[in-house]
C-alpha cells in the first residue's frame, strides 16, 4: 500500500490553503487518507498541523482548496454536523467538561447520534428512558475500552493529566467515528502512559477507525503509524512510510536545521 492514493479515500484534502490576514498557515496541501489507516501528521511547531485538523473538523473555513469526508465537502458545514457524519477530534489542551463526571463527559460524546429532546424529557416518555440507558451503557463500555472505568464517577477536573487525555479519546470514541482526529494525544504523558496509548491506538485501528494523528512524540509515531505526512511552514515536504520519513534528508533538516540523523 502506498500513501496518499486518491481512490476510495475516506478523507480527501485538495490544495488546502489557509491564510490568517498576512500569515499563510497552510499552503496548497494535498492529503488522502485510506479507510482504516493511521496517518501521522508531523512537522516542527507552527508548520500548520493543528490548522489541518481545524479545517477538516469545520472549525476554520479554508481560504482555498477543498476537503471531502466520505465524498462530501465539509466546507461551511458547522462542526456538529460533521460529527453526525462520523468525524470526531481531540484537542491539544484537553478540552473536558470539567464540572461533569467522567461518565457524563463520555455520554456527551454520543450527543450527535441521539435524539432525546425537550418534550420527551419533560414528559418522561419511555423512549427517552431507553435512550438514556443505552447512552449510559455505551459510555461504561467505552470507559472500559480505554481503561478509565474505575474513575467513572469522578469529576473530570479531578483527573490527573494523562487520564484527562484518555477521557477525551473516550468521548471521541463512543460514537464509533469513522474518522478520528487526534491532536497530540501523547503530550504530557509519561513513557508508560504513552506505551498504553500505542496499544489503544492499535485497538482503535482494529475496530476499523481511520486515524489522523498530529504528534511530536517520534517514538509513538514510528511505532503506530501506517504512513507519515510531514509539514513545514504550511507545506507538505514529505510523505511515506515511517522508515522512509526517518531517513528523509529534507525532514531531518526541517527539524534539526542541519544534517543529522534520528538516533
Amino acid at each position: 500500500m502506498t500513501a496518499g492514493t486518491q481512490e476510495n479515500a475516506i478523507l480527501e484534502i485538495h490544495r488546502l490553503t489557509k491564510q490568517f490576514g498576512g500569515l499563510v498557515a497552510l499552503d496548497n496541501v494535498d492529503l488522502f487518507l485510506q479507510t482504516g489507516e493511521i496517518r501521522a501528521l508531523i512537522g516542527p511547531n507552527g508548520s500548520g498541523k493543528t490548522t489541518v485538523l481545524n479545517l477538516v473538523s469545520g472549525v476554520y473555513t479554508p481560504t482555498r482548496g477543498s476537503v471531502f469526508f466520505k465524498g462530501r465537502s465539509v466546507v461551511n458545514k458547522r462542526p456538529h454536523l460533521l460529527v453526525k457524519e462520523g468525524m470526531k477530534r481531540t484537542f491539544q489542551s484537553a478540552r473536558l467538561f470539567r464540572d461533569l463526571t467522567v461518565l457524563e463527559n463520555v455520554m456527551v460524546g454520543l450527543h450527535g447520534q441521539t435524539k432525546g429532546g425537550l418534550l420527551g424529557t419533560v414528559l418522561s416518555l419511555p423512549g427517552i428512558k431507553k435512550e438514556e440507558g443505552m447512552i449510559c451503557d455505551r459510555a461504561v463500555k467505552t470507559l472500559q475500552f480505554v481503561g478509565l472505568h474505575a474513575q467513572a464517577k469522578m469529576l473530570a477536573k479531578n483527573l490527573p493529566y494523562g487520564q484527562q487525555r484518555l477521557l477525551e479519546i473516550a468521548r471521541a470514541l463512543i460514537s464509533n467515528p469513522s474518522l478520528l482526529l487526534l491532536d497530540e494525544p501523547a503530550a504530557g504523558m509519561n513513557p508508560s502512559e504513552t506505551s498504553d496509548l500505542v496499544t489503544l491506538l492499535d485497538r482503535i485501528r482494529g475496530r476499523g477507525t481511520t486515524v489522523l494523528l498530529v504528534e511530536h512524540d517520534m517514538n509513538l509515531v514510528m511505532e503506530i503509524s501506517d504512513f507519515v505526512t510531514v509539514l513545514n511552514f504550511g507545506r507538505k515536504i514529505a510523505e511515506g512510510s515511517p522508515a522512509e520519513i526517518q531517513n528523509n534528508e529534507e525532514v531531518i533538516e526541517a527539524y534539526l536545521g542541519k544534517k543529522a540523523r534520528y538516533a
Partner: protein, 337 residues
Amino acid sequence: MSFKKGLPVKIPFYLAVAIVLAALPMLIRSNYWVGTLNLAIIYSIAVLGLNIILGLTGQLNIAQAAFWGIGAYTAALLNTRLGWPFWATFLVAPPTAAAFGVILGFPTLKLSGRYLAMATIGFGIIINLILNNWKEFTGGVDGIPGITSPVLGPFRFSTNGSFYYLALACLILAALTQVKIKNSRMGRAFQAIKDNELAAELSGVDTFKYRVVAFALCSAYGGMAGQLFAHRTKYVSAETFFIDMSILFICMLMIGGAGSVAGSIVGACLLTFIPEWLRFLQGPWAMAIFGLAIVVIMIFMPTGLAGLAKSVGSKMAVRLRPESQKEPAELPREASH
C-alpha cells in the same frame, strides 16, 4: 451527588416535607407572612429560569426581569382588556416571554460571553423603557390595575392562603421539570456548553440551537413567574421591572448556588425573607449587604450555599458509612439536584 441518597428514610422524608408544605399557611398564622411566602415562591420560579441559562449553560443573562415583565404585562393585558381568565393567561404568558427570549437569544449567538452580557443589559433596558413609556398600550408609569384573581373551576384563589397552593403547584412543576432537564441529554448539552463550548460543538452538540433553547426556557420561566405575580398583586407597573431586579435574581442564584435547582429556590427564599425578618435590613441595607455577600461568595464559595451543602454532605456521608464506598457493580444514573 446528594448525601440524601444514602439515607434509608427516603420516602418518609419526602412525605414529611409534603405534609409540612401542605400545612404551611396554617402554621404561619400571619397573612402578611404567607403573602411574603407567595412572593418568595414566585421569585423562585424566575430564579429557576435564570439557573437554566446561567447556572447550567453558563450564559450571563442580565435581563430576566424583562421577561418577568413581559409575562406580567401579557397576563395583565389579556386579563383586563380581553377578559381572559387565569388559566388562559397561564398558557399564553410563558410562550410569549419565550418568544422574546428567542428574539434576544438568536441574534446574539455569534457573540461570546462578554458581549452577550452587555446585549442582555441593553435588551432589558429597552424593554423596561418601552413598558414605562408606551402609555396607550401599557399604561405607562401608572401601570395596569384590576387584574382578576385566579379561578379554576370551583376554586377561587383570592386569598394569600389559597394562592399559596396554586403558586406552590407551579413551583413544584417548574422545579421537577428542571430536574428532569438537568439529568437528561439536553441538560448535559447545556453543561457542556458552559464548560467548553468548542468541545461541545465538536462532540456533536448544536451549540447555537441549545443556546437559543436555553434562553427560551429561561424566559418562559420568567414569564410564568411574571404571570403569577400579576394575578397575585392584581396590578403591574414597569417600576418593578428595572435592571435592579435582574441583578437581584442573579444575587439569589449565586448565593443559593448556580447550577442547583434546590439552590435557586433557597437563594430566592432567603433573599426574600431576610429583608422582611430583619426589618432594619430593608431597602438599601439589604441590597448593600447582598452586594457584599455576592463578592464574598464569589471569592470563597462560588458554588453558593448548594455547593457548600454538597461538600459538607459528602464529607458527612463518608464519615457515616465508610463501608459502603465500594464501587457498585453497575453504575447507576445519578440524579443531582
